[in-house]
C-alpha cells in the first residue's frame, strides 16, 4: 500500500492524492479489507477473470466500463456525485440553510450510527452469498453474483471513506469493526437481523436481491436527501450501482417463473410433485419464498413508531424517499399517519403523529415499489396462460419488529391463533422440505451458453453481449 498511485489503484474523485490523513487511514484499513475479502469473499474464485462493470469516474462514460477483471484486482474506488454549491437543506428544522460540508458536533453520534448501520449491510451480504458461486446455474448468473459482490464491497468503501474522513478516531474504529463482525455469527453478528439469515440457494439469492437490495435502494434514497452533503452525494452514486442488484433479483425470479410455466404447459399440469420431478420449482414454493423474504425485509425499516426516526428527520440527517418531489411542508409537525395496531383479534388502523411514523412511511413506499415488480412477474405467468397469481403477503404477516411482532397473522391479514399458525406455517413459509428440494436442484453449470434446467436464459446478455459469452474465465 505504501507506494500506491492512488488515482490509478483507488479511482476516486475525492482528491485522495492530496489528503495525507485520509491516505494514512485507508492504508491501515485496506490490507484488512483485502484479508476480509480473501476470507469472506466469494468461495474459490480468486483467480477468475470476470466480465465486470467498473466505475472509473461518475460521468455516464466513466462509471460503466466493462471488461474482464480478476476480482481481487477490481478497482473499488471512492466516488461521490458532483457537488452542487447552491444546495440547501430542504426538510426539517434547518430547512433553507446551506447543507453541511462537515459533521455538526451535536449530530455526530447519530450520523455515525446511520453510516455504520448502512455500512454493515454491505459486507454482510457478501458473507451471506459467499458459497453461491459453487452452485451457479450459468456463467451469466455467476458473473452477476460477482458483480453484486464487488459493488457491495465498493459500497463498504464508500461508507468507510465517510467514517475515516469525517469521524476521526471513532470513525477508524468503526471502520475496523465493520470488517470484524460476521453475518450469522453468534458472538459478533451483523447489526440487522435480515443480514444474519442464510442465503442457502439461488432462489433465496434472487429473492434477496429483489426484496432486500430494494430495501437498500429506499434507505439510500432517504440518505441521499441528507443535509450532510458528503453522505447525500455518496449514497446518490451508490444508488446507480444498486440498480443492477435489483435487476439480478427481479429478472432472476422472473426467469425461474418462466421456466416453471414452460414445463407446466409442456406437461399440462400444475401438480407440484410432477413439476418437482421434472426439475423445476413449483409456483406455490416460489410464493412461500416470496412470503419469507418480503416479511423479513420489511422488518428492516424498523419499528412502526420510532422517536429516532423523528429525530433523524427533524434534525435533517435522513429524509423521506423522494423528499424533493413531495409537496407538503417538509416539517411534518402537524401531520399524522396511519399505522396498524392489534386490538383483540383484529388489526386496526390508528392515527399517530407523522414524525414518529416515518419508518412506516418509508416501509409503505417500499411496499408499493415491491408490488409493482411482483405484478411484472404475474405478467409472465399470465402470458403463459396459467391461472395463478403471486401476491405479497399482508404487512403484518411474520413480523418480528414493532407492535406486530407479538401477533400471528396469516398472509391474507387475518389474526390467527398459535395453533392455526403452527398448523399452516408450512403452507405460508418455506418448509425444511421445500428448502431441501430447492437445494437439490442447485448444481453448477459453467459451460458458456448453458443454463440449469430450473431457470430460463435471460432475454438479453450483459452490455449486449450474447448469451453464450464467456462471462467468467476460469484460468
Amino acid at each position: 500500500m505504501a507506494n500506491i498511485d492512488y488515482s490509478e489503484k483507488i479511482p476516486n474523485n475525492v482528491r485522495l492524492n492530496e489528503d495525507r490523513t485520509l491516505q494514512r487511514a485507508l492504508e491501515q484499513w485496506q490490507p484488512n479489507y483485502l484479508n476480509w475479502w480473501s476470507d469472506m469473499g466469494p468461495d474459490g474464485s480468486q483467480g477468475f477473470d470476470v466480465y465486470l462493470r467498473t466505475a472509473v469516474s461518475v460521468d455516464p462514460q466513466g462509471w460503466a466500463q466493462f471488461g474482464h477483471v480478476k476480482m481481487p484486482e477490481y478497482r473499488w474506488g471512492i466516488f461521490l456525485n458532483p457537488a452542487d454549491p447552491a444546495r440547501k437543506i430542504h426538510f426539517g428544522d434547518h430547512m433553507g440553510e446551506n447543507v453541511w460540508q462537515d459533521v455538526p458536533g451535536e449530530y455526530r453520534a447519530n450520523l455515525r450510527r446511520i453510516i455504520v448501520t448502512q455500512g454493515d449491510t454491505e459486507p454482510a451480504s457478501v458473507e451471506q452469498q459467499r458459497h453461491l458461486g459453487l452452485t451457479a446455474p450459468s456463467l451469466y448468473d455467476l458473473r452477476n453474483l460477482f458483480q453484486v459482490n464487488v459493488e457491495e464491497g465498493r459500497h463498504l468503501w464508500a461508507m468507510v471513506y465517510l467514517l475515516h474522513k469525517y469521524f476521526g478516531r471513532d470513525g477508524r474504529e468503526e471502520g475496523a469493526a465493520l470488517l470484524e463482525r460476521r453475518s450469522g455469527q453468534q458472538d459478533n453478528p451483523r447489526i440487522l437481523q435480515a443480514f444474519n439469515e442464510e442465503t442457502p440457494d439461488w432462489l433465496s439469492f434472487f429473492m434477496f436481491t429483489y426484496f432486500t437490495d430494494r430495501d437498500g435502494k429506499f434507505q439510500l434514497c432517504a440518505l441521499a436527501e441528507s443535509s450532510f452533503d458528503p453522505l447525500a452525494r455518496t449514497t446518490k452514486f451508490m444508488l446507480t450501482e444498486e440498480a443492477h442488484h435489483m435487476f439480478v433479483g427481479e429478472s432472476g425470479v422472473s426467469r425461474v417463473i418462466q421456466r416453471t410455466c414452460q414445463i407446466m404447459n409442456e406437461l399440462r399440469t400444475d401438480d407440484p410433485a410432477k413439476l418437482r420431478a421434472a426439475g423445476v420449482i413449483d409456483l406455490p414454493t416460489i410464493q412461500r419464498y416470496l412470503n419469507f423474504h418480503f416479511s423479513v425485509t420489511i422488518d428492516l425499516f424498523g419499528a412502526d413508531q420510532s422517536s429516532n426516526a423523528a429525530t433523524f428527520y427533524s434534525t435533517g440527517l435522513k429524509g423521506r424517499f423522494e423528499e424533493g418531489k413531495r409537496t407538503d411542508d417538509h416539517m411534518l409537525k402537524h401531520d399524522s399517519y396511519k399505522v396498524l395496531q392489534v386490538r383483540g383479534d383484529a388489526l386496526v388502523e390508528q392515527e399517530v403523529p407523522m414524525l414518529n411514523a416515518l419508518n412506516e412511511v418509508l416501509r409503505d413506499d417500499y411496499i408499493k415499489d415491491s408490488v409493482g415488480g411482483v405484478e411484472r412477474w404475474n405478467k409472465v405467468i399470465e402470458k403463459a396462460g396459467i391461472a395463478f397469481r403471486l401476491k405479497v403477503p399482508h404487512k403484518a404477516f411474520h413480523r418480528s419488529i414493532g407492535t406486530l411482532a407479538d401477533v400471528k397473522v396469516a398472509p391474507d391479514g387475518r389474526v390467527v391463533s398459535e395453533a392455526e399458525w403452527n398448523a399452516k406455517v408450512n403452507d405460508w413459509l418455506p418448509s425444511p422440505a421445500d428448502r431441501v428440494f430447492v437445494a437439490s436442484l442447485m448444481g453448477r453449470v459453467v459451460e458458456p451458453g448453458r443454463f440449469a434446467n430450473w431457470i430460463a436464459p435471460p432475454v438479453m446478455g450483459i452490455n449486449r453481449q450474447p448469451a453464450d459469452f464467456e462471462y467468467v474465465r476460469f484460468n
Binding site: 460521468d59 462514460q61 457537488a83 454549491p85 409493482g372 432475454v459 452490455n463
Partner: protein
Amino acid sequence: MDMAATTLIRQHLIDPEICIRCNTCEATCPVGAITHDSRNYVVDASKCNMCMDCISPCPTGSIDNWRTLQRHAAYSVTEQLAWDTLPAELSAEQLADASAAQIPQPLESDVATAPAGDQSTLKGGSFGATIPPWSAAHAYTNLYGPKAPEHSIIATVVGNVRVTEVGTDYDTHHIVLDFGSMPFPVLEGQSIGIIPPGADAQGRPHHARQYSVASPRNGERPGYNNLSLTIKRVLEDHQGNAVRGVASNYMCDLRIGDKVHVIGPFGASFLMPNHPRSNIVMICTGTGSAPMRAMTEWRRRLRQSGKFDGGKLMLFFGARTKEELPYFGPLQNLPKDFIDINLAFSRTPGQPKRYVQHAMRERGADLAELLADPNTCIYVCGLKAMEEGVMLALQDVVSEAGMAWETLAAALKRQGRLHLETY
C-alpha cells in the same frame, strides 16, 4: 437528401417488460428526456438528443430500443406510459404505405428496397458505436448544465455570417462564440447546448437546443477561446407547415456583442481518431456538415504543420441545391489529394434527384476499400431520416465487395468506428 420531405425518425424507447424502474436513466440523462409514473419509465422524443449517455448505465438493457416511425406518428409520452409491452417495429410495407400517402418522395424508395421482415436493416441507431475510436482525445463533458456546479456559461457572439446564398428559402449561419476567460474545452464532433431566452407557451423556460461544434479543438480562430456553429433557420416544421423555430431564429438573428447562455459540452463518442494513418469517411446533409467541417479543418491544420499526410478523408455531402450547401465555396478550395469530396443535390433544376446514398453507391468500390481498413472511422450526421438510406447503402457497398456486413458492422460498433448523429 431532401430536408423538407424527410419524415422517418428513429424513436428511442424503453422496453416496459424488461425495465425494473430503477431510475438510473432518469438520473443520468443530461437533458431530462426521461420521466416516469408509477407504471413506466419513458423517453420524451422531443427532448432526447440521442447522446447515448443512458445506454451503458442501464442495468437491464431495456433502454436500448429503437423504432422507425413517421415523425408525426412518434409515440407520445402519454401513450408510452400506458404500455405493457413494446410495440413491434412497423414493417417496411407499413412504413412505405404511410410515407407514400404523406409525401411522395425520397425515403420510401430506400425503405421499400429493405427486405421485408429484415428489421436489422432499419436499426441505424443500434449500429452506431457508443465508444470513441481508440486514438480519440479525451473529451470533457457536462462542464456546465443543470447537474453541474455551474448551471450555464455566458458566451459572447463575435461573428455571425450567412453561409448559404441570399434569396433561397434556407438561410444557414456561421456563428462564432467566445468564452472569454471561462474554460470551455471542446473536441471536433462534440456539441453544445443553447438556452434561448424567454419562456414557452406554458410559461416554462425554453429547453436547451443542441448544436454541433463546427470549429476544431484550438478554436475557430486558433489560439482564442472561441468556437463556431452552423445553424439553419427553421421556418417550417418537418411536415412543411410554417413555424418559427425558437432557438435557430434567435441564434441566426444575433448581433456581434450579444450574450448567449450555453451548456455542455456534450458527446464522448462521436470523436475523431488521432493516429496518423487513420482515415475518415464523412456522410452528412445540411447542418450535419458542422462536425465534418471541424474534423476536416483540424486535419488541414495538422497537415499544414507537416503531420497526417497518410490518412485519407472522404466526404459525402447532400443538400437541395448548390446554393443551400453551407461552406460550398471554401469546400471547393481544398486540395483534391487532401479530401475526396462527393456532393449530391436533390433539387437542381433539370437534373434527376440525387441523395448521399446515390453518391455512396457510385463510389462503392473506393468506399469499400476504405471500409475494409481497420484504420477507417465513419461519421454520419444530419437529419434523422437520412440514416436509413445511408445504412442501407453502406450495407450494399460492403456486401457487393464480398465482405460480411454483420461481421463488419459488429466490429465497427465494438471498435468505436461508426458514429451516427442525426436530429
